[in-house]
């Protein structure tokens, strides 16, 4: 809550809040709050907790953004804790046929053994600045949506570049409240991240797809890294102290992380689009990929290793989206969203000063329907669902870089802005294994998908296939391309257009063939998105005028603060306790006769006798999280780490649209389980000591 509103009467606030969240609890533990707009009053009212600026700043500076997910510093020597499934991309990249770290785990007994992760950088949010006025001033009345989009893009690039030049910090302008506000986020970056410890995937992801998004749960979903600076462990001023005992039932806890995306402020028209078009089509693609990668993986252990991380990601998304779609198809839930919009629109209609806002919903519906018509092409061409290979991604990045870099910074496609350049190059040049068979399979299948979606006789499809079958075309492009080599990527990228043309790499030529159409459809979609942003800007202001400031924006993959209590729930008449224990793990394995995915890794069988089976393993809380929060710390009032978020339960999958408190829960690994496992299963006493702050 921002300072200017502090003087308001708390009782009124409470009533307002009750109105806002009237369909859930009296005052729900709802919200993914901005760090520059935290729920101070709410915490004071409900939990008698005084959210001080130093407390908040410490948590902010201890929080780490790790890829699209979350993590935190947990030692003064730069140890970073996150989830196994967040670290899995690095584990996959570091693995070979001989050393399968993703499956078998890893432990660096000395700092010398810590393994640098190619392409992995992490960032820490240093500060936030509201730049709404400057961004909006670039858009003037009378501009078309396309002009407005370009003007906004230009001013955002300018702000970011200025900030980067001035502070040396990575600087991103973040669009909040669907376009009602713009804040500048500045990040410190660490580009030398090394792997310290990972357990076996089978205990990190115990129960596999069946237990994913379920509770009770028994997962050691952790992965530990260390940030380095100048070749030495980073000395970080802010890190989370380890809690000796973890959380108690009903205890207030906080979650600090980077929730990826929610759609809670979307209009009904936008939600209908998600329900009727976007999610079904996404799921169609995910089902297709799950079958493709599953069949490939079944052919040999080495295939399974190569496709493991992709397959995990696909299954995880599929289960999450299935749950979200089921939520949208549940009238009891969807009707609440419809009713919320109806109330807001009614309120707007009664205020003459908001007359200009009344058309906003229809403008959004109109823009959304244009986007719906463009969806297939946009997805196939611009999002490259028709060209599903890492090599195509590289090809397009190299091709577009050469073109975009010749333009003024403010006119470039967003991802080619100067402020993003360092990270872009870091990723593009990172070494990673590329498997010809797997890339060919994925490309052949996606070219088939392209033909099915756009029509076999579509001129572009015919050009892309060039008289060949998808299989033959994919094979030629993958085998002919040199982009699997990091050195080649670098030399083409640095060489620019002439060098690229001379190289005649077939994957780049494929990207070139597609690029004009891809850019056209992107531009059309972006114009409509701008129209939606402007309309949401109006709605956001109206909501502020009517309901006051107690809002958090939809998730945007940026740092947010959530809070809640550790609390069980009832499911089909059964009480689900808030925490599980190590004993429960062994019971679940026995119940399933130790058959996959309920089998236990060898050390967990061998070391069972040493473990204190009463130690809590996983626990749930009412904190408001979503995908991207994976790896977030759970901290107590003292700011100590009591757990590590790794999942939500099945009832939480509607959180994309709606926070519900009856049954939806965030699932975390208990801090005590981590220490117990490190010491007794993995003989990693020194690492446990570092976590709990014992001097080595």
């Amino acid at each position: 809550m921002s300072p200017r509103n502090r003087s308001c009467c708390s009782a009124l606030k409470l009533i307002l809040l009750m109105l806002l969240v009237s369909t859930t609890a009296l005052i729900a533990d709802e919200g993914m709050w901005l760090y520059n707009h935290p729920p101070r009053e709410l915490l004071r009212e409900k939990y008698n907790f005084d959210l001080t600026a130093p407390w908040l700043e410490h948590l902010q500076l201890s929080s780490v953004r790790f890829g699209g997910a979350s993590a935190e510093f947990v030692s003064e020597d730069g140890l970073i804790l996150s989830n196994h499934h967040v670290g899995s991309r690095s584990l996959q990249r570091l693995s070979t046929k001989e050393h399968n770290y993703l499956r078998d785990g890893f432990y660096a007994r000395t700092r010398g053994e810590e393994k640098r992760c190619p392409g992995q950088e992490v960032t820490v949010l240093m500060n936030i600045e509201d730049v709404t006025a400057r961004v909006n001033s670039a858009v003037t009345p009378g501009m078309s949506d396309e002009q407005a989009f370009k003007a906004r893009r230009a001013v955002m690039a300018e702000i970011e570049k200025e900030s980067l030049d001035k502070t040396g910090l990575q600087s991103d302008v973040v669009t909040l409240y669907q376009g009602a506000e713009y804040h500048l986020y500045r990040y410190k970056k660490y580009t030398d991240v090394r792997l310290v410890f990972a357990p076996e995937e089978q205990i990190a992801f115990y129960g596999g797809d069946p237990d994913n998004f379920e509770y009770p749960r028994y997962d050691l979903d952790i992965c530990i890294f260390r940030a380095y600076e100048n070749g030495k462990p980073a000395r970080v001023g802010n890190y989370l102290k380890w809690s000796a005992n973890g959380p108690k039932e009903n205890e207030l806890i906080f979650v600090s992380g980077n929730p990826g995306r929610t759609d809670r402020l979307r209009t009904v028209a936008e939600l209908e689009y998600l329900r009727d078009v976007s999610y079904p089509k996404l799921l169609e693609r995910l089902n297709r990929l799950e079958v493709l990668l599953g069949a490939y993986s079944a052919r040999s252990q080495e295939n399974a290793r190569r496709a493991r991380n992709d397959l995990f990601g696909v299954r995880n998304s599929r289960k999450a989206r299935d749950g979200a779609l089921a939520g949208l198809l549940t009238p009891r839930l969807f009707d609440r969203l419809v009713e919320t919009e109806r109330q807001l629109r009614s309120a707007v209609a009664t205020r003459p000063e908001l007359a200009g806002t009344q058309g906003a919903w229809d403008r959004i519906a109109q823009a959304q329907s244009v986007i719906a018509q463009q969806r297939a092409q946009y997805d196939m061409l611009e999002r490259a669902s028709g060209f599903n290979t890492t090599l195509f991604t590289y090809a397009r990045e190299i091709l577009r870089s050469a073109e975009e870099r010749t333009k003024p910074n403010g006119q470039r496609l967003e991802e080619y802005r100067e402020s993003a350049r360092a990270s872009f190059e870091f990723r593009l040049f990172a070494e990673q294994p590329i498997y010809t068979d797997l890339e060919t399979l994925k490309l052949a299948d996606s070219l088939t998908f392209l033909a099915e979606t756009m029509g076999y006789n579509h001129p572009l499809v015919q050009k892309v296939l060039a008289g060949q079958s998808p299989q033959a075309r994919a094979s030629a492009a993958v085998r002919g391309s040199k982009l699997a080599s990091s050195a080649t990527r670098r030399s083409l990228y640095e060489g620019g257009e002439t060098t690229i043309r001379e190289a005649a790499d077939p994957m780049i030529e494929l990207a070139r063939l597609v690029d004009p159409d891809a850019r056209v459809v992107r531009s059309r979609v972006e114009s409509e998105e701008e129209a939606i942003r402007q309309a949401h800007g109006q709605i956001g202001k109206a909501r502020y005028a009517i309901e006051g400031p107690n809002h958090y924006p939809d998730a945007t993959s940026t740092l947010r603060l959530a809070f809640g209590a550790c609390r069980g729930y009832e499911q089909e008449g059964q009480a689900i306790p808030y925490e599980t224990t190590l004993a429960g793990l062994y019971e679940r394995a026995a119940e399933h006769h130790d058959q996959p995915p309920f089998d236990l890794p060898p050390p967990w069988l061998a070391k069972r006798k040493r473990l204190d089976l009463r130690v809590p393993f996983n626990f749930v809380s009412t904190a408001d999280i979503i995908g991207g929060n994976s790896g977030s710390p759970v901290v107590n009032r003292a700011g100590e780490l009591v757990g590590l978020i790794f999942d939500g339960n099945i009832q939480s999958l509607v959180a994309d649209f709606l926070y519900t408190e009856d049954q939806a829960r965030a699932v975390a690994v208990h801090s005590s389980a981590i220490i117990e496992a490190l010491r007794k299963v993995y003989d990693a006493g020194p690492l446990a000591d570092e976590l709990i702050g014992k001097s080595r």
Copy 2:
């Protein structure tokens, strides 16, 4: 070849044949020949084999239709040999949580232990009569497509009923050459079929999905039943003698079975529909089901058991259709189909007497495009992809029976004709396990699919969902329905409309809600199919006039004769020998570290030392087969059984459209491997003795 053409010059025939098959071998081993139109001349020319009437009749009467697949009598006491994957539905139905015969196999050591298979009947084709003239005479000029369809349906029902009444044999009028000919097939039926032997699924389907449709191969894909009559083993006059040694390389062999469906005589417009619409949409549904059933199966061993047969079927179809679609997307192959049509149309254009045929292709294209528009509704409503539960199938059958039985026989929907009644009731009343959780899952998912496909706001979708989520609606319908009980099904079926209405079974009420729309879309599609049939009738006559009679019709799930030679092939520069050995099985398991799906069942590990590893296991031939041929006997010149068809290789998956001989092969279990395994792995000496004709 029919007798009337025997006098033609053989050399001319040869040339004609070469023209017809000019793009494959000189004279290819192509064809799924009618038993009343066998390739006598071709066999004489190419293999110097005299196909005598007694030889052919013996093979026909030894051949058995088993569900949608094939089988054969192999002892005078009615032993029936087929594939494990053909018997799997019975194995699934006979299994319980305690006895998983599908996974663990079964052997009846005495006749008393042989287990009757609920709902399983088999038929033997007794004779064939050409009724083309009578069927066509019912359709008179000036009739609309809808009238023509009704007239044809009526006369076919009349012919079948007459034949049934006269002969007591099941009588089906079969549409051949897409409607150029109609033949009446009469079958003797056995309704008491008992399970005698099945190996473990893991050896029957060794290599699982990865090895499915691949070669070299190591599968004991067999299942042995016995036909009973009047409670005693059926004494069958015709059965196949067992070959002592199996086939030699390059030896002529024959395959007698029921290929399900091919599309080789389809026009390019129809093939484009398959390529661009039908196959992609089918695969979308199969992918969806594979993910759904796979996720369900992973939750527990009991779940896996319950869904096993469904999941196998889905994966098998998916891989087959993937291969077929890849073929249609291969210009080298598709262009051949285009060229064949072009040549025929050119030839038609030069013959004034065929002027009336010229428009046939366009009429087909027109009808096909109407069908394309109806496809989604037809698939969802009439084919019930939107209501994917066995209970819905029962519900509709009971509902429609009550309505259709009040109509004259000739006006009923095809499946409610009197001639089909006995089999219909046999199936409807058969006991089978129904699992509430699995049926609910399938129905909830398919209701979601319905909403996605027809649109959530479609009035019928809204009526179907009735204000509930797909999950809630499915749960209510499945839990509320009594149709899992065979006795309930019988009493509702026999009670008729009033009884049904009074029962108010929620699944029947759901079927009733959908039925008007389902019938409308079915009727529209059937009218267009009639238009296509008429046009194909013209094309068929023109083809006959131009190219002579050396054609076999597309597969129609009826008995056909194929032939070929046992021959290896080359693949990616490597020679693939025509047969594998038992030794190869153990090598493949070792190569994959005995990991699933390459692990071996316990008896195969325990009895390894007893086996003669030189015994041939699987072999391939050039015979022209397709899905439905599973379980077909492979016989030699002497009419002895040398093998059992169970698969085609990956190159054969284009056989839907095109026979190719370079690499496409039919895959069979070698007769010697069956005897070796029965004696040494399964201690089933008496069964082996019965197969080889040794008196017990």
